[in-house]
Symmetry: C2
Subunit: 196 residues, 2 copies
DNA sequence: TTCATTTTTTATCATTTGTAAAAAAAAATC
DNA sequence: GATTTTTTTTTACAAATGATAAAAAATGAA
């Protein structure tokens, strides 16, 4: 996915402002398994995914909890670092080889202060993430684990193909065993053979 | 809580920009029980709470689920209306008599387009809500119901005094019965008499 | 106060989810 | 293709939560 498309689907920028932003953006590729952002650090870079898929996770007691997946077109940031310039709580791991766009947070914030279109782009960027996060919180509050799994299957079928179920279970807030039970209870569970 | 304090704690505005914003803000008072914002409507107004407490809830099957409380200094908005000019999913009810500041969403968006400081104020406003929402999502993912109750007790003890437990239970994502059990299991449950 | 209403707690039983361990299946490596 | 490793499913039992109903407590109104 091209960077202009990624930027403009957040908020349509005038050409001049878009150019100013693009001037600050570089590209990089990293292999599957790389930890792109680390917890307890102030991360200085904002990434956009050109190709690939990543997960954000944090540690609870001795195990990892995955709380976000990012795919093509999405921004990869440490919320605390980007918003408050503070250390974050998330590790972000590449689940596939990834092509990324890189933007220094410092450059972005300078543009926010200089260019009203980019400031409004930044507002829309935060608002979009806010809507998504609130949707997930509400889904969490309103739906059972089984319903949440089915929503994920409906809204992001690709995710189920690209990410192992242990991560999906963690993301849904249940154990892998529980997810496995939920899957086997569904009428058309994907791993079921149709005998005939 | 005064409006200048509310506005400037989101993002410190230059005096001129702050004045421009304040010019568009009016005050209003409503009684306990009033439904301030309604689901399935495009709400045109953003409120800030000068005094009082409110809850946002939505309907799931036949019962209400409370998913947000707002207190002094906080903004009361329909996310969908404010961000996308679309109908919202939440009803917002006043839990006490409230004094509110009112700002037409249309006026605010016009100022976003005109004034870079206000645009950045709007960015910070969304970013603050985003951090809070993500914190709640993660709390949800990482903590048991009992732990979430204790976090609430620690971080917002006032809320427990001002809001009935049925709403709190709903907010925590459990039934009132379950919350009651959790409370009675805690060592220093607030309703326990000390006999001596 | 007294009565009526609302809110909270308690009790019982069913369901869901978690934990731990093992089996099965799939993927990766040689 | 065979072996090793990882991932997923299954099983058995424990713990947490939900649903329902009833009792107790708190609140509000006359």
């Amino acid at each position: 996915m091209e960077i202009t498309e990624i930027l403009n689907q957040i908020y349509a920028l005038p050409a001049a402002s878009c150019r100013k932003l693009q001037e600050k953006i570089t590209e990089a590729s990293f292999p599957k398994g790389k930890i792109l952002l680390r917890a307890r650090r102030v991360e200085k870079t904002v990434y956009f995914i050109r190709k690939g898929i990543v997960r954000a996770y944090a540690h609870q007691n001795d195990h990892e909890i995955t709380f976000w997946f990012g795919q093509e077109g999405e921004a990869v940031i440490s919320m605390n670092s980007y918003i408050q310039n503070k250390a974050g709580y998330e590790d972000i791991e590449l689940l596939e080889n990834c092509d990324l766009y890189c933007l220094r947070s410092e450059d972005l914030h300078r543009l926010y202060a200089e260019d009203i279109h980019i400031a409004n782009w930044g507002r829309k960027f935060a608002e979009r993430e806010l809507l998504r996060t609130e949707a997930r919180l509400i889904s969490r509050q309103f739906s059972t684990a089984s319903e949440r799994y089915q929503e994920l299957l409906r809204d992001h079928p690709d995710l189920l193909q690209r990410v192992q179920l242990g991560h999906i279970a963690s993301y849904l807030g249940i154990t892998q065993v529980s997810l496995s039970r939920i899957r086997s209870a569904l009428p058309s569970s994907p791993h079921q053979e149709i005998t005939g």
